[in-house]
Amino acid sequence: MPAKGAMQTRLEAPALEPLQAGPDDVVAVEAVTRRFAPARRGGEAVLALAQMSLRVARDEVVAVVGPSGCGKTTLLELVCGLQQADGGSVRSEPAVYMPQRDLLLPWAGALDNAALALRIAGLSRTQARERARPLFARLGLSGFEDQRPDALSGGMRQRVAVLRTLLSGRPVLALDEPFAALDALTRRDLQDWLAGALAAEPRTIVLVTHDVEEAVLLADRVIVMSQRPGRAVEEIAVARPRPRRDTDPELVALRERALKALHR
């Protein structure tokens, strides 16, 4: 892929110009501004995003990293149509949102939670469960079909939430720090699983994370955001074959580059 190679060698720019949106872009966020009204009268408005741009091609995984509070969640909600931009433009094919915390229905069993999108799409309970079952098993959740969330471990709950997102059938998946709350071991497990799933069946993903290692491990491109007000300050193409190993010297180099951009 010559285009990606070219991006990888691109020099660090102080700020990225709004990128030219191609026709094959599934997500195109152009110079977006997002401002939150002050909580109290006379208080200061919070400028969460300023001149933020992001585009994602079909079946591309783009990781967005940035310091806490720089507007990553806001960006995802804009892409998902949950918020409106105050300036610039946002265009995206239907995107499903996976919130920062695993928000499952406490009264429903794990399999029913995973199959929620299918129920909403109009399938019967039996049909929805049957459709969800193969992936459920692949995620190592067999035997826990009818356990309610409070009987699952944190890692299992997170897997069910990921599954619910995958089964939505939406063209774009917007994942907000999907593995942040997990212990290192479980997180590595789930990252490996997601990488494997993506290699088998590519999906268009915007992956918000504060973990640079996770970003270069999973993404085709990494966008580094500035402190609030957030904007893209660095774009790193990760043109490495999958499966990737985090000891791969090229990945380590890219990670260093992302970290440097993050701390600039």
């Binding site: 909600e77 998902c80 149509g81 949950l82 239907p94 995107a95 499903v96 949102y97 996976m98 919130p99 920062q100 915390r101 928000l103 229905l105 406490p106 009264w107 929620l116 999108a117 129920r119 909403i120 309610r148 409070d150 009987a151 619910r164 939505s168 939406r170 917007a174």
Partner: protein, 261 residues
């Protein structure tokens, strides 16, 4: 086995001990002669009234229990529908909320006779009164439950293209069910009072009627016995509802590993 017996003992013993202690104080107070037995009968008098008039009390409990149960059922049905309607429409909320509040300030002893003129001496006016004072806690608690959904979950539903109805059915209504139960439990207490007031306004039967009759006959022991029956019934109903809720909504009561919350 022994552990479970001991644990049950630890749960039953304190309320039992407290009740016995209070009864003892009450008995001593009455026996000391500092209060007229017509005003305050001793616990032993009440106990013998409970025993001697058991047939009378049992017969009186039937109609009262029916009024309470049916009244609460009506209140839960109307209250849930009203809560959902208010939840869905802010216009309706603004329109109905003051009326719902106003309905609670209605003094039952004043309206009870009016309702009886209007609806006759049968079950109807009693059900109206009981349902009227019960639907308020049901509406409030159901509304709380409906609004208590995690906003993140609503965002997920939105991006899944869920209709308003789908969100209500799959997320908001289930999350409101514990609220419906709390509302119904609070309703029990007021329902019992409402039923007695309604019966005292006009009735030939029921515990309220019996209390009125016994008071008129200066048989305060029987009057108190009727109140004891009424309390016991309320406690039983409360316990039943609690058990039912545990059975139907186990997710609302258990944290991880099944520890009771």
């Amino acid at each position: 086995m022994t552990v479970s017996v001991r644990r049950r003992g630890r749960r039953v013993l304190p309320p039992l001990a407290l009740a016995l202690a209070l009864l003892g104080v009450w008995q001593l107070y009455v026996e000391s002669g500092s209060v007229d037995a017509l005003i305050l009968p001793s616990p032993t008098d009440v106990a013998s009234a409970l025993y001697n008039d058991r047939g009378l009390l049992w017969d009186a409990l039937g109609p009262t229990a029916l009024e309470v149960l049916a009244g609460i059922a009506i209140a839960v049905a109307i209250g849930m529908v009203l809560a959902v309607a208010i939840h869905l429409s802010s216009t309706l909320r603004r329109a109905v909320h003051p009326l719902v509040l106003a309905s609670q300030t209605v003094p039952i002893p004043v309206v009870a006779p009016l309702l009886i003129f209007w609806l006759g001496f049968g079950l109807a006016p009693k059900l109206v009164i009981v349902a009227l004072i019960c639907f308020f806690p049901v509406v409030l608690n159901t509304l709380d439950g409906l609004a208590d959904v995690d906003p993140g979950l609503l965002k997920v539903m939105h991006t899944l293209d869920a209709s308003r109805w789908a969100t209500l059915r799959r997320v908001e209504l289930p999350s409101a069910l514990p609220g419906v139960f709390s509302g119904a439990k609070i309703a029990i207490v007021v329902a019992v009072i409402g039923a007695v007031l309604a019966e005292q306004a006009a009735s030939e039967q029921g515990l309220g009627h019996l209390i009125q009759l016994s008071t008129a006959e200066l048989d305060s022991a029987r009057s108190y016995a009727a109140m004891v029956v009424l309390s016991a019934f309320a406690i039983l109903l409360f316990g039943t509802l609690t058990l039912l809720e545990r059975q139907l909504l186990p997710w609302a009561h258990r944290t991880r590993r099944g520890d009771p919350r």
